[in-house]
């Protein structure tokens, strides 16, 4: 039974979720993958978007800032 999928933008700040898919082309997929953001990885949302600004997430030992548009393409589920 799979949980409902959400875009990363819809998750509240402070919550930890698991990435299930990344929509969009190869370019974006590869860049995120190289940073370690890929299906199956847990990410914690550190700060939410402010005035359509970027979202900051923590994954493993790293923090990454991602534009809001990119986050809409990252589908996640609750852990």
């Amino acid at each position: 039974m799979s949980e409902k999928r959400l875009a990363l933008t819809e998750v509240a700040a402070g919550e930890t979720v698991r990435v299930c898919a990344i929509e969009g082309g190869h370019g974006i997929h590869d860049r995120l993958q190289a940073l370690g953001i890929r299906a199956g990885v847990s990410v914690t949302k550190v700060s939410d978007s402010f005035a359509h600004g970027p979202i900051v997430i923590r994954h493993g030992q790293t923090q990454t800032a991602l534009g809001r548009g990119i986050c809409q393409k990252i589908l996640v589920e609750a852990v």
Partner: protein, 569 residues
């Protein structure tokens, strides 16, 4: 000679390891992507001289970015690779190692930032890691030099059998397997720095913090700069240098060519360091007495913020604003650097992704970001009338920055790409590395900017002596007197700005204008011609076509702003 590549993810202390290995210090900063252009040096390995190349930071070898393309290209004729891994972020570092293992080139892993990993409760068994990877692994601490000697000793020279071809998914699985064997994590609470790091990116706390950081930085820069001028440089010039110049003057004929060139004209019977305009009087005083202290204090504060890791967080907060100007948050780096000197500011636009962004950012830096020299002179000339006049110039430049950025964003084809940026952890930078960076930057100022100041003063003096200026002033008078409400001599100063803006502001100061006229002329000067050094770098970075565009925008906007200010004030 053998070629050894130094490779790793961005921001793993690669440049610091490079300087340890070669003894050549390169500029490194606590933000990803500093090394856009590569640096090379030489090092000795077992008595043999080798070339060491600092390859731009990469996350993999897909050639998806400019940096990765360069890395893939360089690998084709490399004799060995030193892979710098971040011990505090081993998973992502090993992902690149997996890519490198598939190359037949001798490989060694430097497990850098080893000390921080211990503090963070990350325990890595270097021996097990070495067994699993099948290549030497040496723990290192770049900033103290720990492990560097051992790293050099263990650089392998025999070709390796490349690992089997893997898919991206396989690589991450393999990294996960190795980590489960060689690394153990201690559960621990957030440190104060991590807590502070989170606060700085959350909008509710981050924006007040940014205002605080920028206010404190600006105040510090002013305080340090002014104290250096008041307590060190002015006394030095007045008590040490003036007697030398006066003795020299006694041996020459006042009013002669040599006297005018070296010492300038006397004001009230004595040498005036700001107004005399001799090479040895005003020339040296502008370069060292007025500008050097501010450049020093600016770079001191900026270098610390940079190495502390604050700038990427500022980039996150300002991303939305920068998008309005057709840029993304990362463009705050060239902007901030531009406040020191426009030349490194424009060079830093290389971290931006496409040529559209680079054109916008370079144009904005050269028009609306006043460099430290210019700011020092602004304060020097306008400050005595009250800081509200200096504030007017800053306000005008800020409005220009926004308006030109918005217009360019509308007019130029294309869109600004979205932000994908790693945020490094906060680290208290060792004073030694901050100090060394400061030293490099100050040496750059003395070597590259000071000759231009002196040349500028010399040219002004010669033209003045030959009365060329009077002719030019006559020809350009209508523009300045009618449209801008300035005395015709101000036009000359603004033309002079092409050689050196700080010198030109000095000329304005000697004209006895009203504070409002000074505000207008200083603003027009700040926006119009870039100094010759900026001009050269602009041509190199955005091409001659880009330069001409920037130049046209400059002329039109500075004239427009001058006219507006003349109407408002």
């Amino acid at each position: 000679m053998k070629r050894i590549l130094l490779m790793g993810n961005p921001n793993v202390g690669k440049s610091v390891v490079f300087s340890r290995l070669t003894g050549v210090h390169v500029t490194s900063a606590n933000y990803p992507g500093t090394t856009v252009e590569y640096t090379q040096g030489s090092m000795m390995v077992r008595g043999e001289k080798c070339i060491l190349i600092d390859v731009p930071g990469t996350y993999g070898l897909h050639a998806t970015s400019k940096a990765e393309e360069i890395a893939v290209e360089m690998l084709k004729n490399a004799d060995a690779v030193i892979n710098v891994a971040d011990a505090t972020n081993l998973e992502r570092s090993l992902h690149l190692t997996m890519h490198l293992l598939q190359q037949p080139i001798p490989l060694i892993v430097a497990l850098n930032i080893w000390d921080d990993a211990r503090h963070k409760g990350i325990h890595i068994d270097a021996n097990r890691l070495e067994q699993e990877l099948g290549v030497p692994v040496v723990p290192t601490v770049g900033i103290t030099g720990e492990g560097i000697k051992k790293l050099i000793e263990r650089i392998p020279d025999k070709p390796r059998t490349p690992a089997i071809e893997m898919t991206e998914q396989d690589r991450w699985t393999e990294v996960g397997r190795i980590l489960s064997i060689a690394q153990s994590l201690e559960h621990r609470h957030h440190t104060f720095l991590e807590f502070l790091g989170d606060l700085s990116v959350k909008p509710a706390t981050g924006i007040p913090l940014a205002v605080l950081v920028l206010t404190v930085s600006f105040t510090l820069i002013r305080l340090i700069g002014e104290s250096l001028i008041g307590y060190v440089f002015e006394p030095l010039f007045e008590n040490g240098w003036r007697p030398v110049l006066e003795a020299l003057g006694g041996r020459m004929r006042p009013g002669g060519l040599l006297y005018t060139l070296l010492l300038g004209e006397l004001v009230d019977g004595r040498i005036d360091f700001v107004q005399s305009f001799g090479l040895l009087s005003t020339g040296l005083f502008v370069a060292f007495g007025m500008v050097f202290p501010y450049v020093f204090s600016f770079y001191l504060v900026l270098s610390y913020l940079e190495d502390f890791g604050y700038l990427p967080r500022l980039a996150v907060l300002l991303d939305t604003l920068m998008h309005r100007l057709g840029l993304h948050g990362w463009a705050v780096i060239p902007m901030l650097l531009g406040f020191g000197c426009n030349v490194p500011g424009i060079m830093a636009t290389r971290v931006l992704e496409n040529s559209r962004e680079r054109l916008i950012a370079s144009t904005l830096v050269s028009i609306a970001v006043p460099c430290a020299s210019l700011q020092a002179m602004m304060w020097g000339i306008l400050g005595p009338y009250g800081s509200q006049y200096v504030a007017m110039v800053y306000a005008a430049l800020f409005v220009v920055w926004i308006v030109i950025g918005r217009i360019l964003n509308r007019v130029l084809a294309g869109e600004s790409p979205e932000l994908i940026m790693e945020i490094p952890p906060y680290r208290f930078p060792p004073l030694r590395t901050v100090g060394y960076k400061l030293w490099r930057r100050m040496r750059g100022y003395v070597k590259e900017a000071v000759p231009f100041v002196l040349a500028g003063v010399l040219v002004v003096n010669l033209l003045h002596f030959l009365r060329v200026f009077d002719f030019l002033a006559q020809a350009m008078a209508p523009v300045f007197t009618q449209l801008l409400g300035l005395p015709k001599e101000a036009g000359l100063a603004i033309l002079m700005g092409f050689f050196r803006k700080d010198v030109a502001v000095g000329m304005l100061g000697a004209l006895e204008m009203s504070p409002h006229q000074l505000v207008i002329s200083v603003t027009v000067l700040a926006m119009s011609f870039p100094c010759i050094a900026t001009f050269v770098v602009l041509a190199r970075e955005i091409g001659v076509a880009g330069l001409l565009k920037a130049f046209a925008i400059m002329l039109v906007s500075s004239l427009a702003v001058g006219i507006c200010l003349n109407l408002i004030l």
